[in-house]
Subunit: 253 residues, 2 copies
């Protein structure tokens, strides 16, 4: 299997770095091919701009996703984007390794999504979700947080983990077609002792040795939705973003 790990931490002494090394070593020992995009080490530019295209379909006002579609056909992305696209197309499994910042990925990784998950290849007229360009591939989040598990759970002060990761797992990875594995979360990493941290590394290694046993996040195929883009009446919601929600706005004052 071919595995791409996209990694977003600046410190080689971080626990994220230890998780990365564990993943590389474990997967390599299993006979898999592993490539790493170390975004900080690469000085990856996260800011989408006109400079991302070597030639333009439309002059003047930049319509970023329309230029992406053109650049897919012309292979005219900037070199850094072409290189990252090639890695994503190459891989069977994408792993995102990052510290959780503001319920999300660090900006350097957000910009990797913005610039590399391109219209016309990852999604677009070709389809999205189970029709997305990356269908048949798998993706998994591995993240670290200072939170304790009970905080990020049903009724927990930080809200449900599925809500926290919804925009990444559903809105990004599943959107382009990946099957999304249950995330691997290292909890309260700063407050743990070396023994607990070693156990997290061991658990990650064990998971990567038995990837076929890792549960998938439940998603809805597009066929679950009607022509009005709503879940069909006979389909029970299977995600936190599709279930019935009774919350309402608070009146001001």
């Amino acid at each position: 299997m071919k595995v791409l790990i996209v990694y977003a931490h600046s410190q080689p002494t971080s626990f994220n770095s230890a998780l990365l090394r564990t993943a590389v070593d474990t997967l390599t020992a299993q006979g898999h091919e592993v490539r790493v995009s170390d975004l900080y080490a690469m000085n990856f530019n996260p800011v989408a701009s006109a400079a991302d295209f070597k030639e333009r379909r439309f002059e003047g006002h930049l319509q970023y996703d329309r230029e992406q579609k053109h650049a897919v056909a012309q292979h005219s992305f900037s070199d850094d984007i072409e290189a990252e696209i090639a890695k994503v197309i190459w891989c069977d499994l994408l792993i995102l390794q990052f510290p959780l910042w503001w319920y999300s990925v660090p900006a350097i990784m957000k910009g990797w999504f913005d610039r590399v998950f391109v219209n016309g290849l990852m999604y677009g007229q070709l389809g999205r979700f189970d029709k997305g360009g990356m269908k048949g591939r798998r993706a998994m989040i591995s993240t670290t947080t200072g939170c304790f598990p009970g905080m990020v759970a049903e009724g927990g002060v930080m809200g449900h983990l599925d809500a926290m990761l919804w925009h990444i797992q559903y809105g990004t990875l599943a959107y382009v077609g990946f099957d999304v594995l249950e995330p691997f979360v290292t909890w309260s990493v700063r407050y743990e002792d070396d023994g607990a941290r070693a156990l997290y590394l061991q658990k990650l290694a064990e998971r990567l040795q038995r990837l076929d046993e890792v549960p998938l996040k439940p998603m809805h195929p597009l066929s679950d939705f009607g022509s009005d883009w709503k879940l069909k009446a006979d389909i029970a919601p299977r995600t936190i973003g599709h279930q019935k929600f009774v919350g309402a706005s608070v009146e001001p004052g």
Copy 2:
């Protein structure tokens, strides 16, 4: 009132730019003071790094949030961060104007959160959520999307809008103490005609003229949670991230 608008679009001919101008003009006409952080025009650096600190509390391994706490006390952030912090502290209302990319903000704005919402001032030992540093202030998202409203609603193919914006509205804005106003969403902006677009500008102006009538997103004060960080048994969940969720993982194979 003092209003800070943080804006993340590179094109002055974009509809985001038109929304920004409408907001500035409307709020100014109402007698409010308005400042704009035009992140693309500022060439804002979204990548958190050691360069964000003019002096360090700890040598060697960078613990970003601990250095933030030190830099708050020493006023030793890099000049670009100090300037943005001053604007946030100055404002009574924060408006985020951005195109929705991957269910989230563009990377240049994510990096503004990463670098400007600093530990020791916006959150930290001082508290978070209703005890956060920005308590008493309001914040509002104004975003544009190619989606149609029915897609981003209960049972819609993209999932509920509250799930999409959860990491921003709850995990970022409410986390640091802001009262969060209902978001202003410009739907399917590319597919609308000029009349429909003009109507969106008018609706935004009307909203900004009557800010005190805009509903707030329901949140839970910290007193709703017990010492186990879970919602107390007698408190009904009021957010999409706190409600009961019956989803489960799919067994592999």
